[in-house]
């Protein structure tokens, strides 16, 4: 066939080779472009700063993703807590207070779920776990009412903890 229809055969060969090489070239160049651009952008920072920012971004992104995926069930909240606890040892110091706030919000939500199912002891235990985290963040009021407020707003958005009227 190749000998009988050389033009058609060469045409298909050309198309096949062009597409294959285009794919290989595109993949290799996009990987190289990606690495070069990252290197160029991070070159504006010194090595330590670059590493710190990278780990900070990774920790915040991981905690935010875990937070978004969490449902208002005991199992889901416990899974989120376990994810946050795993993240904590590797997180940079700047990310620790944010992780603590998320963990406190999870404990407060769990306390509310236990309360709803009349498991008072577990609810109290969860609240007692949330309090030191919030006190560590400098919260002056860690009463049950504040913890319930945190729990209520946990699934709307952590940002809704911000009161809607008037600055301090």
């Amino acid at each position: 066939m190749f000998r009988r229809f050389p033009i058609i055969a060469n045409f298909f060969l050309a198309v096949g080779l062009t597409l294959t090489c285009w794919y290989v070239g595109n993949f290799a160049a996009s990987m190289a472009g990606y690495v070069c651009e990252r290197h160029r952008v991070f070159a504006s920072l010194d090595r330590e700063q670059g590493r710190d920012i990278r780990t900070l971004n990774e920790s915040l992104l991981a905690s935010a993703l875990s937070h978004i995926m969490t449902k208002n069930t005991k199992e889901s909240l416990q899974l989120d807590l376990s994810n946050l606890q795993k993240l904590r040892p590797e997180a940079p110091p700047d990310a620790l207070p944010l992780l603590d706030l998320r963990m406190a919000a999870d404990h407060a939500s769990l306390a509310q779920l236990y309360q709803n199912t009349n498991e008072a002891t577990s609810a109290t235990a969860q609240r007692e776990m949330a309090r030191p985290l919030l006190r560590g963040l400098g919260w002056t009021n860690t009463s049950d009412a504040v913890l319930d407020e945190v729990a209520d707003k946990r699934f709307r958005s952590p940002t809704s903890l911000i009161p809607s009227e008037g600055a301090k």
Binding site: A14, T18, G25, N26, F27, R38, L45, L60
Partner: protein, 151 residues
Amino acid sequence: MSQLTKIVALVSCALGLIVGAASGASSGRESAAAIIDAGCLSAQNELSVFSAVQFHYADSDHARQAVLSEMRIDGILQRLSPKMLSARSLYIPYARLALIEDAAGNTSASQAAFEKAKEIVREHHPKEEVTLVKIKQGLQRYDDALGMIRY
């Protein structure tokens, strides 16, 4: 393999590689820039939200610490993603710091932070008169907007 086939194969490979590499390099660079921008925006948002929550619930020391940490990291993020993170929103941490220092009774520190916030706002709105009330309103609007975001 005929001479023609060899030439066709060689030209096809070269053409495919050149076009693929040319389009791939730019898309790789764009992807990296987009990923870096998204990471910076997300980190800035998280830190900003945390500062806002601390501002409303924590004592002065912790609220100050959160804002100072936000400012320091914002400065670094701005170098990574200058287009996405405009200096416009940078007046917010200064405005917050001014109010924290004011509540803590540090008048001179509060004044300095307020002046810095004013300076940043003026850079973007040179004709507008900037007052403490306007800065506070801006801060409140910003906090309200943050409250709408689910992340």
